[in-house]
Assembly symmetry: C2
Homo-oligomer: 427 residues x 2
C-alpha cells in the first residue's frame, strides 16, 4: 500500500459514515437503486446477453492482441486545421479514457516533422562523431552489449496546451493536454556510449540527429547526457513503436519532447550549441517584447483533471463522484495535488495513488459528494522542488501571449448541472 493508504481507507463504507459523507445514501439513491431492485427481483438480468452460451476465439486467434471492438472510440485524434499536412503534425493521447500512469503504446501521441520513418533495425546504425577520441558506429546488436536501465518517464511536447495561451480554445483534455505520454523505457545510458568513444576535454554539447526526412536535430548540453539520458530501444517492455522512433530514440527525461530525437542515427559532440532550425525559429518562447527565451528545455510542474472533462461528462445524478487526473514535473516527482470545485477559491488535497517516480506522471483522485450544482473544477500540482503550478493569468503576466510553448497554467472545467463539461477560463 502507498503512503496514501490512510486517505484511501477513508472512503470505505465505515469511513464514509464516519466522515459524515452520505455514501450509503448516495449510492442507494440515483442509478444504483436500479441494481438493488434487479438483484432482489430478477436474476434474469444476468442472462440478458448470453456470453456464456457459446465458445469464443481460441488462443491461436490473436498472436498479437488488440482492444475490444467496444473500445473503438479510444484512439489518438488529430485536429485537421492545426497544421498544413498530417506528415508534419500532431495527434493526441485520449487522456480522458485512460487511468493509472502507464500510457499503452498504441495510444501514445505522435508528433512528426516528416511522417513516420520506417527503419529496418538490421540496417540501422548509430554514429558518434565530433569531439571524441574515436568516432564509432554501432549496430543494434552492438547496443545490446551495453548495460541497460529501466525507467518510467513522461514525454511532453513543449507545445502541449499551447492553443490555450490566448484563452479556452479546445474542448477536451485530449486536445488541451494530450501531447503527453508516460512509458517505461529500457535503454542504454548515453554516458556509456560516450565513454566508449572517449570525450575530448573541450566537449560541451551534443547534437542528436534523426534518420527521418526531417533530419531532426537539437543541441543538448553534455551535462544532461551524462546525467540521465538513455538511448532507448524498448517502451513498456516491447520494441519502440515506429511512430516513437523505432528502433532507437533518445530519452531526455523531464525535458521537452522534440529533444527526444526519434530514429536516432547520429550524435555529434561539439563545444557549443548549433542553433539549428528547431531551437531558433521553433521551440523558443517569444515574449511580449519581441525577444525569445531559448534553451527552455525543462517541462514545468503541471496537472489536468481527466475526468470529468468535456469528452467525459458526469453520467450519473448527484451523489458520490470520482474525479481523477494526471500531474507531472520535469524537475522531479509530484508531492501534492490540490483540487478546487469552485474555480480556485477553496482547495482540498487530492489522493495520489500508484507509483511515484521522478519525471513521471502521477495519478490523482478526489472523491466527493456532488450536490448536482455547477462546478468549476481545477487541479494544482506541487513538485518535489516545491514549485507550485501557476494560474494562466500569472503566466501571461510574465510571458505575454506570443508563445505557444510551455503553458503549464491551471486548467478550468465548467461542470453544468446536467453533468456536461466545458473548457472555460476564470479570473
Amino acid at each position: 500500500m502507498t503512503k496514501n493508504d490512510e486517505t484511501l481507507r477513508a472512503p470505505s463504507r465505515r469511513g464514509f459514515l464516519k466522515s459524515g459523507i452520505a455514501i450509503g445514501g448516495a449510492l442507494a439513491a440515483a442509478p444504483l437503486a436500479a441494481r438493488a431492485a434487479a438483484a432482489e427481483g430478477d436474476p434474469a438480468i444476468l442472462e440478458k446477453k448470453d456470453w456464456n452460451q457459446y465458445l469464443g476465439d481460441g488462443v491461436d486467434a490473436r498472436p498479437y492482441g488488440h482492444p475490444s471492438e467496444f473500445e473503438a472510440d479510444v484512439v489518438r485524434r488529430n485536429v485537421a486545421w492545426l497544421t498544413a499536412d498530417p506528415v508534419s503534425s500532431v495527434n493526441f493521447t485520449p487522456l480522458h479514457q485512460l487511468d493509472g500512469i502507464i500510457t499503452p503504446n498504441g495510444l501514445c501521441f505522435e508528433r512528426h516533422h516528416a511522417g513516420i520513418a520506417e527503419v529496418d533495425p538490421a540496417e540501422h546504425r548509430l554514429m558518434i562523431n565530433g569531439l571524441v577520441d574515436r568516432e564509432l558506429v554501432f549496430t543494434m546488436q552492438d547496443l545490446m552489449r551495453f548495460p541497460r536501465e529501466n525507467r518510467v518517464y513522461f514525454l511532453e511536447c513543449a507545445a502541449n496546451s499551447g492553443m490555450e495561451w490566448r484563452g479556452a480554445q479546445l474542448n477536451g483534455c485530449q486536445f488541451t493536454h494530450g501531447m503527453i505520454h508516460n512509458v517505461m523505457y529500457t535503454g542504454v545510458p548515453l554516458k556509456y556510449l560516450l565513454e566508449e568513444a572517449g570525450l575530448k576535454t573541450n566537449a560541451k554539447w551534443l547534437l542528436p540527429e534523426g534518420a527521418d526526412a526531417a533530419g531532426m536535430t537539437r543541441s543538448v548540453p553534455l551535462q544532461k547526457a551524462l546525467d540521465d539520458c538513455l538511448v532507448a530501444f524498448k517502451m513498456n517492455g516491447e520494441a519502440l513503436r515506429p511512430e516513437q522512433g523505432y528502433p532507437i530514440r533518445l530519452a531526455v527525461p523531464g525535458w521537452e519532447g522534440n529533444m527526444w530525437v526519434k530514429w536516432l542515427r547520429r550524435i555529434e559532440v561539439g563545444d557549443e550549441p548549433w542553433h539549428h532550425r528547431e531551437e531558433t525559429s521553433k521551440y523558443t518562447d517569444l515574449m511580449a517584447n519581441g525577444k525569445a527565451r531559448r534553451f527552455t528545455w525543462e517541462m514545468d510542474v503541471k496537472s489536468v483533471i481527466t475526468n470529468p472533462s468535456p469528452q467525459a461528462p458526469i453520467l450519473h445524478d448527484k451523489g458520490f463522484t470520482v474525479l481523477t487526473g494526471l500531474a507531472w514535473s520535469g524537475r522531479g516527482s509530484i508531492t501534492r495535488v490540490d483540487v478546487s470545485l469552485d474555480g480556485g477559491r477553496n482547495w482540498r488535497p487530492a489522493r495520489i495513488d500508484g507509483p511515484s517516480f521522478d519525471k513521471s506522471a502521477h495519478r490523482f483522485y478526489y472523491e466527493f459528494d456532488w450536490d448536482g450544482s455547477p462546478l468549476l473544477l481545477q487541479s494544482r500540482a506541487i513538485d518535489s522542488e516545491g514549485i507550485v503550478q501557476p494560474t494562466k493569468d500569472a503566466l501571461r503576466a510574465v510571458r505575454g501571449t506570443n508563445s505557444i510553448y510551455h503553458n503549464n497554467g491551471i486548467q478550468t472545467w465548467h461542470v453544468k448541472s446536467g453533468g456536461e463539461v466545458e473548457n472555460v477560463e476564470v479570473s
Copy 2:
C-alpha cells in the same frame, strides 16, 4: 536512480578498466571492429537505406498504433499438441523478446477454458450475493463511482513450467516460463464492494464466477479479498483486453492465475469453500503417494534467464555479454537474484534494475566477459521473506513428479561455444 546504482556504475568504461574486465578490448574486437572502420573510412554506411529520402505516414494514419513490421515475430505462441482444442488452451508470452518489467497488453499470455467471451460493457453486470446484508448488482458505471487503486502485479498460471517436472521438455523460455505477464492494473478494491453489500458474520469464503461459457469459479478466502484483491477494469492504462476478462476481472495478487476470474459477473459470499471442478480435479497438486495438495494458491519465488535462451542465442563472438531475466514471488518483492555460469557451482549476484513492487516481476541483469566456452546458465531468486528458489531435484524430492502445478525450480540453459542455447537439466 535505484539502490543498485553503485552496481550499475561499475560497468562504465572506467569501471571496466578498474575491475580488470577488458571491456575496451572486447568491444573493439569482435563485431564492433567493423564500426570503427566504417566510421573512419566511409560515412556512406549511414546512407545505406534512405529513410531520410521520403516522407512517412502522417499522424492520421494510425488512430490506434501497432508494432513495426520488422517485429512480426514478436507474438504469443501456442503449442498445438498441448491441448485438444485451442478454445481451452494456453498461449505463451515471448519473454525472450521483452525487457523491463511491463508486459505490453498485446503480448500477455492467454489461458481460456471456453475461448474469449466478447462482453458488451453496457450490458455487463456484477452481482454480489449470498451471505450479505443486501444483494447488489453493479453496472460498469456504478463501479466507476468507487475509489480506485493502481498496482503492478504479475499473473502466473499455476501450470507455468509444468511440462518441466519430468525433465527438460520445451526449448525456449517462452514455452517453459511464458505463462506469466506483469501489468499495471487500475481497479476498485473488492473490500469496498463487499462493505457496500454488508458481510454477514458467518461470511468466510467467496466464489467469483466468470461470464464465459466455462463459467469459471474458484473459492477465495474472504481474508484475501479484504486484503488486496481488486476488481480491475484497466491494464497498463487502457481497458482490459477481451482475452484478459474485458470489461472486468478479479485481481488476486501473488496467487495462481485462474483465481483471477475473467469476465467477472458474480461473487457469491459463503461460509465454506465450494470444491468446484477447477479446484479439485484441476489446480490441486498430486503428490507421489496419490494424495493431492489443495489450496496451494500462493505462487512461489521463481526466476528465469530470458537472454540468452534457446530462442535468443548469443549472436556475437566472445567478449562482453549482457544476460538478463525476470524474477518474482507471490509473497512479496525480490531482494536478490544470483546467477551461475557453471550449472550452480558458483553464484554471483545479479543487478536488479527498475521498479521493485510486491508481487510484481523484477528485471535482473548480469554482465560478463564471455570467453567463448560452453556455459550452464542458472538464476536463483530470493524473496523478501528470505525464501530461496529451489532446484528442480529438491522440489521433486518433496513433491514427486505427478503434479503439473507450482514448479518453481531453477532453470538451466546450456550455451554452446557457437552461442546456441538448449534447455537441459543438471544434477
